[in-house]
C-alpha cells in the first residue's frame, strides 16, 4: 500500500514539479533541456500510472492528508481512488499526454515562451490527474477547475493577440458556469449524504432508503452535474467555448480540447452513474443533450473552413455521442468511445497541426490542397484517423461507434436513432471534406509545405497505430472478440450486457453494415464534391444558419452578455451613482442649503434677534398653554 501511495504521489507531483521548474527556469535551461525534461517527467508519470494500473486489483483508496474539515464528522481529504475507471483514463491522460509532449517539442520549436508552454502543459497533466484520481468531489473539483485554468492559460498562450486572450477568457467563464453547477451539486450531495467522498456517496446510494427530501436534493445534484459536465465537455448549451479554444497552439487542442479535458464530463457521469440511475429523468436529459449536440455540431462542422474549427466541431459532435451512450445506460460504450476518440482525435489534431506547421500557420482549408505529396507521413496517418472517425471497419472508431449506435437503435427512441445515424453520415462527409480539401486537388496556398520533423511524425505514426488497433480493446463478443474494457469496468459501472444469440448477431451485423455504408457514402460524397474543388461551397440561405453556427454566439451575446453589461452599467450609474450616492449627496446638499438659508437669519440687526427671542418665548407660552 505504501508503494501505491508513493506511486500515486509521484505520478501527480512530478508534473507539478515540472510545471514550476519550467516556468522558473525555462529561459535559463534552453529548449533542449526543457523538451527532454518535460517529456521525461511525463513518461515517468506514465510509468507510475502503469505501475499503479498493474498494482491495483479491484479498487484502492490512497489517503494523503486532510484538506478541509467541514465539521466534526465530515471532512475533505486529499485522497485518491484508484479503480479501473480512473486508472484507465489516467493512462490515457499520461500516455497520450506523453506523446503530445513529444510532438510539442517539435511543434513549438523556436517559440520565445517555450518553457512557459511546457510549464502549462505539465500543470495541465497535474490537474487532469487530480480530476481523474481524486476520491472526493472536492478534489475532483480542484482538478476540474485546474484543467479549466490550464485551458485558459493555454488558449491565451499567444496573448499578444487580443482575440486569443478573449477566447481564453470565454473558455474559462463558460466553464465556470458549468463549475457553478458542479459546485451546487456538491452542496446538494453533501446535504443528502453528509459527505463529499465519492465512494461513500455511492455506497450510500447502494444502501438506498432515501427520503423524499433527499431524493429532491439528489435530483438537484444531478442537474448540477449535468450542467457541469456540459460545460466541460462542450455540450449544448455551453458548447460555445470549444471552437474558440482553437486559438491555442495545436498540441493543446489535441491534448486538452480533444483527448482529455473535454471528456471529463463523460468521466464524471460515469463516476457517479448510480446517482444518475437513481434519477432516471436526468439520464434522459443527458441522452437527448448528447444526441442533439452530436447532430448540431456535425451540421456546423460541414461548413467550417478552418481545419481546426472542423475538428473542434467534430469533437463536440463525438462528445455528443458519448453523452448519448451514457444517457442510454451504456457507460462502457461511452468510455470505449472516449478512449478511441482520444486516439484518433489526437491523431487528427496533431495531423492538422503538422499541416499547419508545414504551411507556416495556415489554417484555412481553402488555401490547402494536394499535400499528400509533400507530407506523405502526415497524409497516411491522417487517412487512418479519418477512416477511423468515419466508422470504416475495422478501425477503432468503427467498433466504438458501432457499440453506441447499437445501444441507440435498441433503446427504442426513434428520434435519437435518427440523430445518431444522421450524425454518422455527416461525420463521414465532413471528415472526407477535410481530407480531400487538404490532401487532394491542387495546392491553393502561398507557402511551400514540408514534412514535419521526426518528433512530430513519430507521434503521428504511433497514434495512427493506436487508432487502427484500439478497437481490439473491446471487440464485441458477438463477433468473437473479448470485451476487455467491459470486463475491466464492470466492477465500477453498470451496463446491460448484450445477450449472445443468433438474432442479436444478425441485428448487429445489419447495423454494422448500415453504419459502415453510411460512412462510406459520406466519404464518397465528399470525394465527389471536393475532388476538383474550385473555392465554391454550398450556397443557400439555409446554409448560412450552419455556417454561422446557428447564431448561438450572437444570441448569447445579445441575450446575456450585453444585458449583463447593461445591468452592470445601470447598477453602477443608476443604483450606486444616482440612487445611493444621489440620496447621500442630496442629504448633504440639502443640509448645506438649509444651513445657507438659516444663515440668512443672521442679519446683524439686534432687534430682529429680539423678535426671534420674542417668537421663541411666545411659542413656549403657546406650548405651555396647550400642554396644560
Amino acid at each position: 500500500m505504501a508503494d501505491l501511495k508513493l506511486l500515486a504521489a509521484l505520478c501527480v507531483l512530478i508534473p507539478l514539479v515540472g510545471s514550476t521548474l519550467w516556468f522558473w527556469l525555462g529561459a535559463r535551461f534552453g529548449e533542449k533541456v526543457v523538451s527532454i525534461g518535460a517529456v521525461t517527467f511525463l513518461v515517468a508519470s506514465f510509468l507510475c500510472m502503469l505501475g499503479m494500473f498493474f498494482g491495483v486489483h479491484e479498487a484502492a483508496r490512497v489517503d494523503f492528508f486532510e484538506w478541509i474539515r467541514i465539521s466534526s464528522n465530515a471532512s475533505v481529504h486529499f485522497s485518491f481512488l484508484l479503480d479501473p475507471l480512473s486508472l484507465t483514463l489516467g493512462l490515457i491522460v499520461t500516455g497520450v499526454g506523453s506523446l503530445i509532449h513529444v510532438y510539442a517539442t517539435g511543434y513549438m520549436k523556436g517559440d520565445p515562451s517555450f518553457g512557459r508552454f511546457f510549464s502549462y502543459l505539465n500543470l495541465f497533466i497535474f490537474s487532469m490527474l487530480m480530476l481523474v484520481l481524486s476520491d472526493s468531489l472536492v478534489g475532483l473539483f480542484l482538478g476540474w477547475e485546474g484543467v479549466g485554468l490550464c485551458s485558459y492559460l493555454l488558449i491565451s498562450f499567444w496573448f499578444s493577440e487580443e482575440a486569443n486572450a478573449i477566447a481564453g477568457k470565454k473558455a474559462f467563464v463558460v466553464n465556470r458556469i458549468g463549475d457553478f453547477g458542479f459546485l451546487i451539486a456538491i452542496f446538494a450531495l453533501f446535504q443528502v449524504f453528509g459527505t463529499v467522498s465519492i465512494p461513500d456517496i455511492l455506497s450510500a446510494i447502494h444502501l438506498g432508503n432515501l427520503t423524499a427530501d433527499q431524493m429532491f436534493w439528489s435530483k438537484i445534484a444531478c442537474f448540477g452535474l449535468i450542467l457541469g459536465a456540459s460545460g466541460k465537455s462542450a455540450q449544448i448549451p455551453l458548447h460555445i467555448w470549444l471552437p474558440d479554444a482553437m486559438a491555442g497552439p495545436t498540441p493543446v487542442s489535441a491534448l486538452i480540447h480533444a483527448a482529455t479535458m473535454v471528456t471529463a464530463g463523460v468521466y464524471l457521469i460515469c463516476r457517479l452513474q448510480p446517482l444518475f440511475l437513481l434519477n432516471g429523468g436526468s439520464l434522459e436529459i443527458i441522452a437527448y443533450m448528447g444526441g442533439l449536440t452530436a447532430l448540431f455540431a456535425a451540421s456546423v462542422a460541414i461548413f467550417q473552413n478552418d481545419i481546426k474549427k472542423v475538428l473542434a466541431y467534430s469533437t463536440i459532435s463525438q462528445l455528443g455521442y458519448m453523452f448519448l451512450a451514457v444517457g442510454l445506460g451504456a457507460p462502457v460504450a461511452a468510455y470505449f468511445h472516449l478512449m478511441t476518440h482520444a486516439f484518433f482525435k489526437a491523431l487528427l489534431f496533431l495531423g492538422a497541426g503538422s499541416v499547419i506547421h508545414g504551411l507556416h500557420h495556415e489554417q484555412n482549408m481553402h488555401k490547402m490542397g494536394g499535400l499528400r505529396k509533400q507530407m506523405p507521413i502526415t497524409f497516411w496517418a491522417m487517412t487512418v484517423g479519418v477512416l477511423a472517425i468515419a466508422g470504416i471497419p475495422p478501425l477503432s472508431g468503427f467498433v466504438s461507434k458501432d457499440e453506441i449506435l447499437h445501444t441507440v437503435s435498441t433503446s427504442g427512441r426513434t428520434a435519437l436513432s435518427v440523430m445518431a445515424f444522421l450524425t454518422a453520415f455527416m461525420t463521414a462527409f465532413y471528415m472526407g471534406r477535410l481530407w480531400v480539401l487538404t490532401f487532394f486537388g491542387k495546392f491553393r496556398g502561398h507557402h511551400e509545405a514540408d514534412e514535419s520533423p521526426l518528433s512530430m511524425t513519430f507521434v503521428l505514426v504511433t497514434l495512427a497505430i493506436l487508432s487502427a488497433l484500439g478497437g481490439l480493446l473491446n471487440w464485441p463478443e458477438l463477433w468473437g472478440g473479448h470485451e476487455l474494457l467491459n470486463e475491466f469496468l464492470s466492477s465500477v459501472v453498470v451496463q446491460k450486457k448484450i445477450e449472445i444469440s443468433s438474432e442479436a448477431f444478425h441485428h448487429s451485423l445489419l447495423l454494422a453494415g448500415f453504419s459502415s455504408l453510411l460512412g462510406l457514402a459520406g466519404l464518397g460524397l465528399a470525394w465527389l464534391r471536393y475532388r476538383n474543388f474550385s473555392g465554391k461551397e454550398f450556397e443557400a440561405p439555409v446554409f448560412n444558419l450552419f455556417k454561422k453556427k446557428y447564431y448561438i454566439d450572437e444570441l448569447y451575446d445579445i441575450a446575456i452578455v450585453r444585458n449583463l453589461k447593461q445591468i452592470g452599467w445601470i447598477l453602477w450609474k443608476g443604483v450606486d451613482g444616482l440612487c445611493i450616492d444621489g440620496f447621500l449627496n442630496g442629504l448633504g446638499t440639502g443640509t448645506t442649503r438649509l444651513a445657507n438659508r438659516l444663515r440668512g437669519m443672521q442679519t446683524g440687526l439686534a432687534q430682529q434677534y429680539a423678535v426671534w427671542v420674542w417668537i421663541g418665548f411666545l411659542l413656549l407660552l403657546f406650548g405651555a398653554w396647550t400642554v396644560r
Binding site: 516556468f23 492528508f65 486532510e66 484538506w67 478541509i68 474539515r69 467541514i70 465539521s71 466534526s72 486529499f78 472536492v138 473539483f141 480542484l142 476540474w144 477547475e145 485546474g146 485554468l149 485558459y152 491565451s156 496573448f159 499578444s160 487580443e162 486569443n164 486572450a165 478573449i166 481564453g168 477568457k169 474559462f172 467563464v173 465556470r176 458556469i177 463549475d179 457553478f180 459546485l183 451546487i184 456538491i186 452542496f187 446538494a188 453533501f190 446535504q191 449583463l564 453589461k565 445591468i567 452592470g568 452599467w569 447598477l571 453602477w572 443604483v575 450606486d576 440612487c579 445611493i580 450616492d581 447621500l584
Partner: protein
C-alpha cells in the same frame, strides 16, 4: 506558556511604536517604522499557540478594561500585523514627504485595530472602533489623490453615522443589563452569558441588533451602504488601500461574528433572510459593477464589495461551516485584495495612471508581475488550491445547509462565483494580455519579492493546508454554536 501580560504587551506595543515613530528623525523614520512593524509581527507570531487569554482591570466606573484574545481575534491581529508590515515596507520607497507622520499614523491605526480586536468590553471596543477612523481619515486625506476631500468626508461621515447608532444600541444593551441585574457591566462575556440565560424582550432586541448591524454593515460594506468604499479606495494611497481593504473592512465582519450575532442571535435568525438578500445583492452588484470599471482601483474596490458579500452571507446563514469559511475568507480577502492593491500600486508608481485602458500586454514586459497578478487573481476568484477556494467553498457549503434562510440565496451567490471570474479575468486580460504598449516598465526588484513571496506562499499554504487556521477557528465556532443551540433548545 504565555500569560496575560502577553496580552497587555500586545495591546500596548503599537501605541509604543506610534510614539517611537512619531518622534524619530525624518530620514530614519521609515526604517524605524518598518522595524517596529516587524517587531510587532514577530510578537504576534509568538502567540500562535495561544487559544484563549484574558486580562482585566478596571478602566472606569462601570467599565471593565478587559482584554481577551482567542482565535477569532488572533488571526485578524496577525493579518493586521502582516499587512501593516508589508504596506509600510512598500511605502518606504514611495512616500517621501512627511514620512514620520505617515508611518506614525499607520502604527496608530494598527493600535486602534489591535485595541478593538482585543477588547472584551463593548464600550472599550467602541472607542477603538471609532478611533480607527481618525488615522485612516488623515492617511487618505493627506497622502491621497485629487478627490480626497470628498472621499474622506464621505468615508468618515458614513462610518461615523453608523457607529454612533451602534453606540445607542450598545448603551441600551448594557443599560438593560443594569436595570435587570442592578450591576453595571459592559463586558461582552458577561452580557452574552446573561442574555443567554435571560433573553431580552424581542422587540427591543431587534432594534438593538439592527443598530449593530447597520454600523457593521457600513464598515463591511454591505449593500446599500457600500458607496463610500470605491471613492475611498480610489483616493487612498496604496498602503492605505491595503489596510483599508485588508484590515478595516474585516472589523465589520468581525464585529458581526464577535458581538452582534452572539448577543442577539435570535434577531440574527429573524433577519437572516433580509440580510442574506442584501449580501447576495452585494455579491452580484459588486461583480457586475466591477466589470464595468475602467479605474483599476475602483474595480478592485467593487470586487471587495462582492467578496465581502460572500463573507456576510456565510455569517448570516448561521451555520458552523459557513462561519469558519467566512472567517477564513476574511483573511483570504485581506491577503488577496491587499496584494492586488499593492500590484496596482506597483504599476501606478511607474506610470501614474490607474486607467485600465492605458495598460496592455504587460505579461510580455513584466513576466514576474504577470505571474503574481495571475496567482492573486486566481486566489480572488477562488480557484481550488488557492486560499480563496477553501473559504468560499466552506461559506457556500455551510450556507447551503442553513436552516434560517432559503438556500436559494446560495444558488444566487453561486452566480457571483461566475461573475467573479468575469471581472477578474477582464482585469487580467486588459492588463497583461493584448498588444504591449508599455515597454519601459521595470519588473519586480528585491523589494517587491520580499513581500510577494510570502503572499504567494500564503495563498497556497492556506489553499492546501487550511487546517492551521481552520482548526483553532473551528473550536471557537463550535463552542459558540453550542451556546446557540442550547438556547434554541430551551
Amino acid at each position: 506558556m504565555l500569560n496575560e501580560n502577553y496580552l497587555l504587551v500586545l495591546f500596548l506595543f503599537p501605541f509604543f511604536s506610534t510614539l517611537i515613530v512619531a518622534l524619530s528623525r525624518h530620514r530614519a523614520a521609515a526604517w524605524v517604522s518598518v522595524a517596529m512593524a516587524f517587531a510587532f509581527f514577530v510578537l504576534t507570531l509568538i502567540g500562535f499557540q495561544v487559544h484563549e487569554l484574558r486580562y482585566s482591570a478596571t478602566w472606569f466606573g462601570n467599565l471593565k478594561y478587559g482584554l481577551y484574545l482567542d482565535s477569532y481575534s488572533y488571526f485578524l491581529i496577525l493579518l493586521s500585523a502582516f499587512l501593516t508590515l508589508i504596506s509600510l515596507f512598500y511605502s518606504v520607497r514611495v512616500i517621501k514627504e512627511k514620512v514620520a507622520a505617515y508611518h506614525a499614523l499607520f502604527h496608530a491605526l494598527q493600535a486602534t485595530v489591535v485595541g478593538s480586536l482585543l477588547c472584551d468590553d463593548l464600550v472599550f471596543f467602541y472607542i477603538f472602533w471609532e478611533a480607527m477612523l481618525i488615522p485612516m481619515y488623515f492617511i487618505i486625506g493627506i497622502w491621497g489623490g485629487p478627490r480626497r476631500k470628498y472621499a474622506t468626508l464621505k468615508f468618515f461621515l458614513f462610518t461615523f453615522a453608523g457607529s454612533l447608532l451602534m453606540l445607542i444600541g450598545l448603551i441600551t444593551t448594557y443599560v438593560i443589563y443594569f436595570q435587570q441585574t442592578g450591576t453595571w457591566s459592559a463586558s461582552f462575556q458577561t452580557l452574552r452569558d446573561y442574555f443567554h440565560m435571560n433573553p431580552m424582550n424581542f422587540e427591543i432586541q431587534k432594534w438593538i441588533f439592527l443598530s449593530f448591524v447597520l454600523s457593521f454593515a457600513i464598515k463591511i460594506p454591505l449593500f446599500p451602504f457600500h458607496t463610500w468604499l470605491p471613492d475611498a479606495h480610489v483616493e487612498a494611497p496604496t498602503a492605505g488601500s491595503v489596510i483599508l481593504a485588508g484590515v478595516l473592512l474585516k472589523m465589520g465582519t468581525y464585529g458581526l461574528m464577535r458581538f452582534a450575532i452572539p448577543l442577539f442571535h435570535e434577531s440574527a435568525e429573524y433577519f437572516a433572510g433580509a440580510l442574506c438578500f442584501l449580501s447576495v445583492v452585494g455579491i452580484i452588484l459588486g461583480a457586475l459593477v466591477a466589470w464595468r470599471q475602467t479605474d483599476i482601483k475602483k474595480l478592485i474596490a467593487y470586487s471587495s464589495v462582492s467578496h465581502l458579500g460572500f463573507i456576510t452571507l456565510g455569517i448570516f446563514m448561521m451555520t458552523e461551516a459557513g462561519w469558519n469559511g467566512a472567517y477564513l475568507q476574511m483573511l483570504n480577502h485581506g491577503l488577496s485584495t491587499g496584494a492586488l492593491f499593492l500590484l496596482v500600486g506597483f504599476l501606478y508608481d511607474q506610470t501614474h495612471t490607474r486607467d485600465i485602458q492605458a495598460y496592455g500586454g504587460l505579461a510580455k514586459s513584466l513576466p514576474w508581475f504577470a505571474l503574481v497578478t495571475v496567482i492573486i487573481a486566481l486566489s480572488s476568484i477562488a480557484l481550488p488550491g488557492t486560499n480563496g477556494f477553501v473559504g468560499e467553498f466552506l461559506i457556500l457549503l455551510g450556507s447551503f445547509q442553513s436552516k434560517v434562510a432559503s438556500n436559494g440565496w446560495v444558488i444566487l451567490a453561486g452566480v457571483g462565483v461566475i461573475l467573479g471570474a468575469v471581472y477578474m479575468l477582464h482585469l487580467v486580460q486588459k492588463l497583461l494580455y493584448g498588444k504591449s504598449h508599455s515597454e519601459k516598465l521595470k519588473d519586480f526588484g528585491w523589494r517587491e519579492w520580499v513581500f510577494y513571496v510570502p503572499l504567494v506562499i500564503l495563498v497556497f499554504a492556506i489553499g492546501i493546508f487550511p487546517e492551521w487556521i481552520l482548526g483553532p477557528v473551528r473550536e471557537k465556532t463550535t463552542a459558540m454554536f453550542n451556546l446557540f443551540s442550547t438556547f434554541a433548545a430551551r
